[in-house]
Amino acid sequence: MASDEAALTLAPARPAPWRDPKLRAIAYQIVFVAAVVGAVGFLVHNMLGNISRQNIATGFGFLRKEAAFGIGESLIPYSPADTYGRAFLVGLSNTLYVAALGIVLATILGTVMGLARLSGNWLVAKLAQIYVETFRNIPLLLQLFFWWGLLNTAAPAPRQAWQVLPDVFVSNRGIAYPVPVASPAYKWMALAVVVALALLVPLRRWAAARQAATGRQFPRGWAGLGIVLGLPLIVFVAFGAPFALSVPSLHGFNFSGGSAVSPEFAALLLGLVIYSGTFIAEIVRAGILAVSWGQSEAAMALGLKSGQRMRLVVLPQALRVIVPPLTSQYLSLTKNSSLAVAIGFPDLVSIANTTMNQTGQAIEGIAMIMAVYLFISLSISLAMNLYNRAVALVER
């Protein structure tokens, strides 16, 4: 035994190299990486050969050349004399704009419909169910064509425009709607909202501290709502309540006054919101159903009121179930906005497509689209992961 003592403190003996799992793992990985690199290298080699054979231009130099094509709608100033690079920015801003708006509206629609499906009201629940099951089983692209067709070909000329709401007109030129006339007061009101939102944080903290110290509760919800609505209202009144609506009215063959969105934008937004709304509705419904009835019963048995029950017990748990799939819905809505290319809304893909047709530089164009979407995807997942962590912490 004593002679073994020295050997005992050593690590276990190493086996023959070909039977050592660690070495094998390294060997497998080398083979795998070599195969992937080889395959990619083969493709790239072919590509380079084809590029030089077909005299395809390469590099991103084209971004500084004149684009020479018009863009129907843009958030930033643009003319055909601008560069391809600027055209890309126009497309990017349009994509982000429609995606952001779509996410907000789809979340509202989806939440309302998801709650409606759980409603005790039979009629409301059935209508929500019909909405969900109809629109999620039809391809989005077809829905976009449908709305676009409805707005573009089936809708009347501006003279016979449908008035769907007071002063909101739908015609084949798009949807015209009233907007308040710009006033310096609005900027300050927007600021007031931001300030009010910022005030909510110390208010919540103070209310929580007071409740912890004295047990007295503070109506946080109502007070918060009061601040967020009240502060801008004070600013509004302080400016002398400047309120004038610019109402669209028929001038010649089109509307003037108010504001309007193109049929393309309206169809895209409508399609995205209605389609994604069905999935969000299902996510919300599943999330709330995932919180077991026992949790509600326990909360009731403790004497929590229905609002408290929802806020303190059900919602924190439901959100944890809801947020991850909701994130992937936001991602797919953003990616789906690329279908704009089919109905002629100048989003990123649509403009890149035009660029690729004009310059013949497909590789760069596709690489740019992919980079942008990957960046957006990763940002949204990151933001949602942070939020998710916050929710998870609140729960504990």
Binding site: V33, M47, S119, N137, V341, M356, M370, S377
Partner: protein, 366 residues
């Protein structure tokens, strides 16, 4: 217990009388509170505003036959357009005198999907049926046998093309997806890294860019002199796309396998391949059948995007039919018609997947 209960005389008491059935139902389901009553009235108002004009448009004012488009504009739906273009919408540019072939192909696909929904058939027999069905469908579409005129893929269109793209994407994407999922769960960092990179890349970009890539860049990737047909390019894009999504579905199943299963397999001396094939995959895949069906529904809807790379699937053929100068302005009718086709497929399959899910959950509770 039962005997004792019989021995003791029980005073039977009827429950208090309820209000009449219908009224009671209405009160409980529609007017349980003020808020609910308002909701009900709003919903009824909405229905009253929307349903009659719809019915008038779709049925009462609709025109069911007309010689041309001009004669068909009367305020109602022009279903005559559908009658006129039905063949083109469903089968597109496939030679008209060979129409029975795409019809047979659609029938084969529907039969195969139906067979796949019958659980007792699951297993080797189903695989044989599918293999035979797919071979027959391919032969019918492509022709080339005596008596079957060859038809080039450029003419494949309409519903058969939609079905082919979706089904083949799933069939070929699935094994690829399983491998990617296993790779993502691998202990080897290089394998894991590459698989994660592929999955996240493909899932991070819109399908349309994958399609663009296949249609514009795939030809560049091939050696000089090798060409690849347009339908095949789109098919490759769908397979690569489906693989990434299927990988995530399968990963969900792999993660749900309890660690004890793997330990037991190890303790019995099974190797990694045996363990994966005999213990892990059978359980993981069975768990993810419902989400697999959902992925298939997604792929089925997504095939409509091939129209952007100028293929004539169901939607592409329809949009092409709308360009006929004799029949202008019937986009809404045409879209409603094919929406009904897409909807029936998807609705049936999603109901089926819900049914499976319920059965699986019941199995778990036991």
């Amino acid at each position: 217990m039962a005997d004792i209960a019989q021995d003791i005389p029980v005073v039977r008491q009827a429950p208090p009388p309820r209000s009449t059935r219908a009224l009671g139902w209405l009160r409980v389901h529609l007017f349980s509170s003020v808020f609910n009553s308002i909701l009900t009235l709003l919903a009824v108002g909405l229905l009253a505003a929307a349903v009659p004009p719809l019915v008038r448009w779709a049925l009462i004012d609709a025109i069911w036959s007309a010689p041309n488009g001009q004669a068909c504009h009367a305020g109602g739906a022009c279903w005559a357009f559908i009658g006129e273009k039905m063949r083109f919408i469903l089968f597109g540019r496939y030679p008209a005198d060979q129409e029975w072939r795409p019809i047979a192909v659609v029938a084969i696909f529907i039969a195969m999907i139906a067979a796949a929904c019958v659980r007792p058939l699951w297993g080797r027999r189903l695989a044989v049926v599918w293999f035979a069905g797919l071979s027959a469908a391919f032969l019918l579409m492509a022709g080339g046998l005596p008596g079957l005129r060859p038809v080039e893929t450029g003419l494949w269109s309409g519903l058969p093309l939609t079905l082919i793209l979706a089904v083949i994407a799933m069939l070929f994407g699935f094994p690829l997806g399983v491998l990617l999922a296993l790779g993502r769960r691998s202990r080897l960092p290089a394998v894991r890294g590459i698989c994660v990179g592929y999955i996240e890349l493909v899932r991070g970009v819109p399908l349309i860019t994958v399609l663009f890539m296949a249609s514009l860049m795939l030809p560049l990737f091939l050696p000089a002199g090798v060409t690849i047909d347009k339908v095949l390019r789109a098919q490759v894009a769908f397979i690569l796309f489906a693989a990434a999504y299927l990988a995530e579905v399968v990963r969900g199943g792999l993660q749900a396998i309890p660690k004890g299963q793997i330990e037991a397999a190890d303790a019995l001396g099974l190797s990694y391949l045996q363990r994966t094939r005999l213990i892990v995959l059978p359980q993981a895949l069975a768990m993810v059948i419902p989400p697999l069906v959902n992925t298939f529904i997604g792929m089925f809807k997504d095939t409509s995007l091939v129209l952007i790379v100028s293929l004539f699937d169901l939607l592409g053929a329809t949009e092409f039919a709308l360009t006929d100068s004799n029949w202008q302005g019937f986009a809404v009718e045409a879209d409603v018609f094919i929406a009904a086709i897409y909807w029936s497929f998807c609705f049936f399959m999603s109901r089926y997947s819900q049914l499976l899910e319920r059965e699986f959950n019941r199995g778990k509770q036991r």
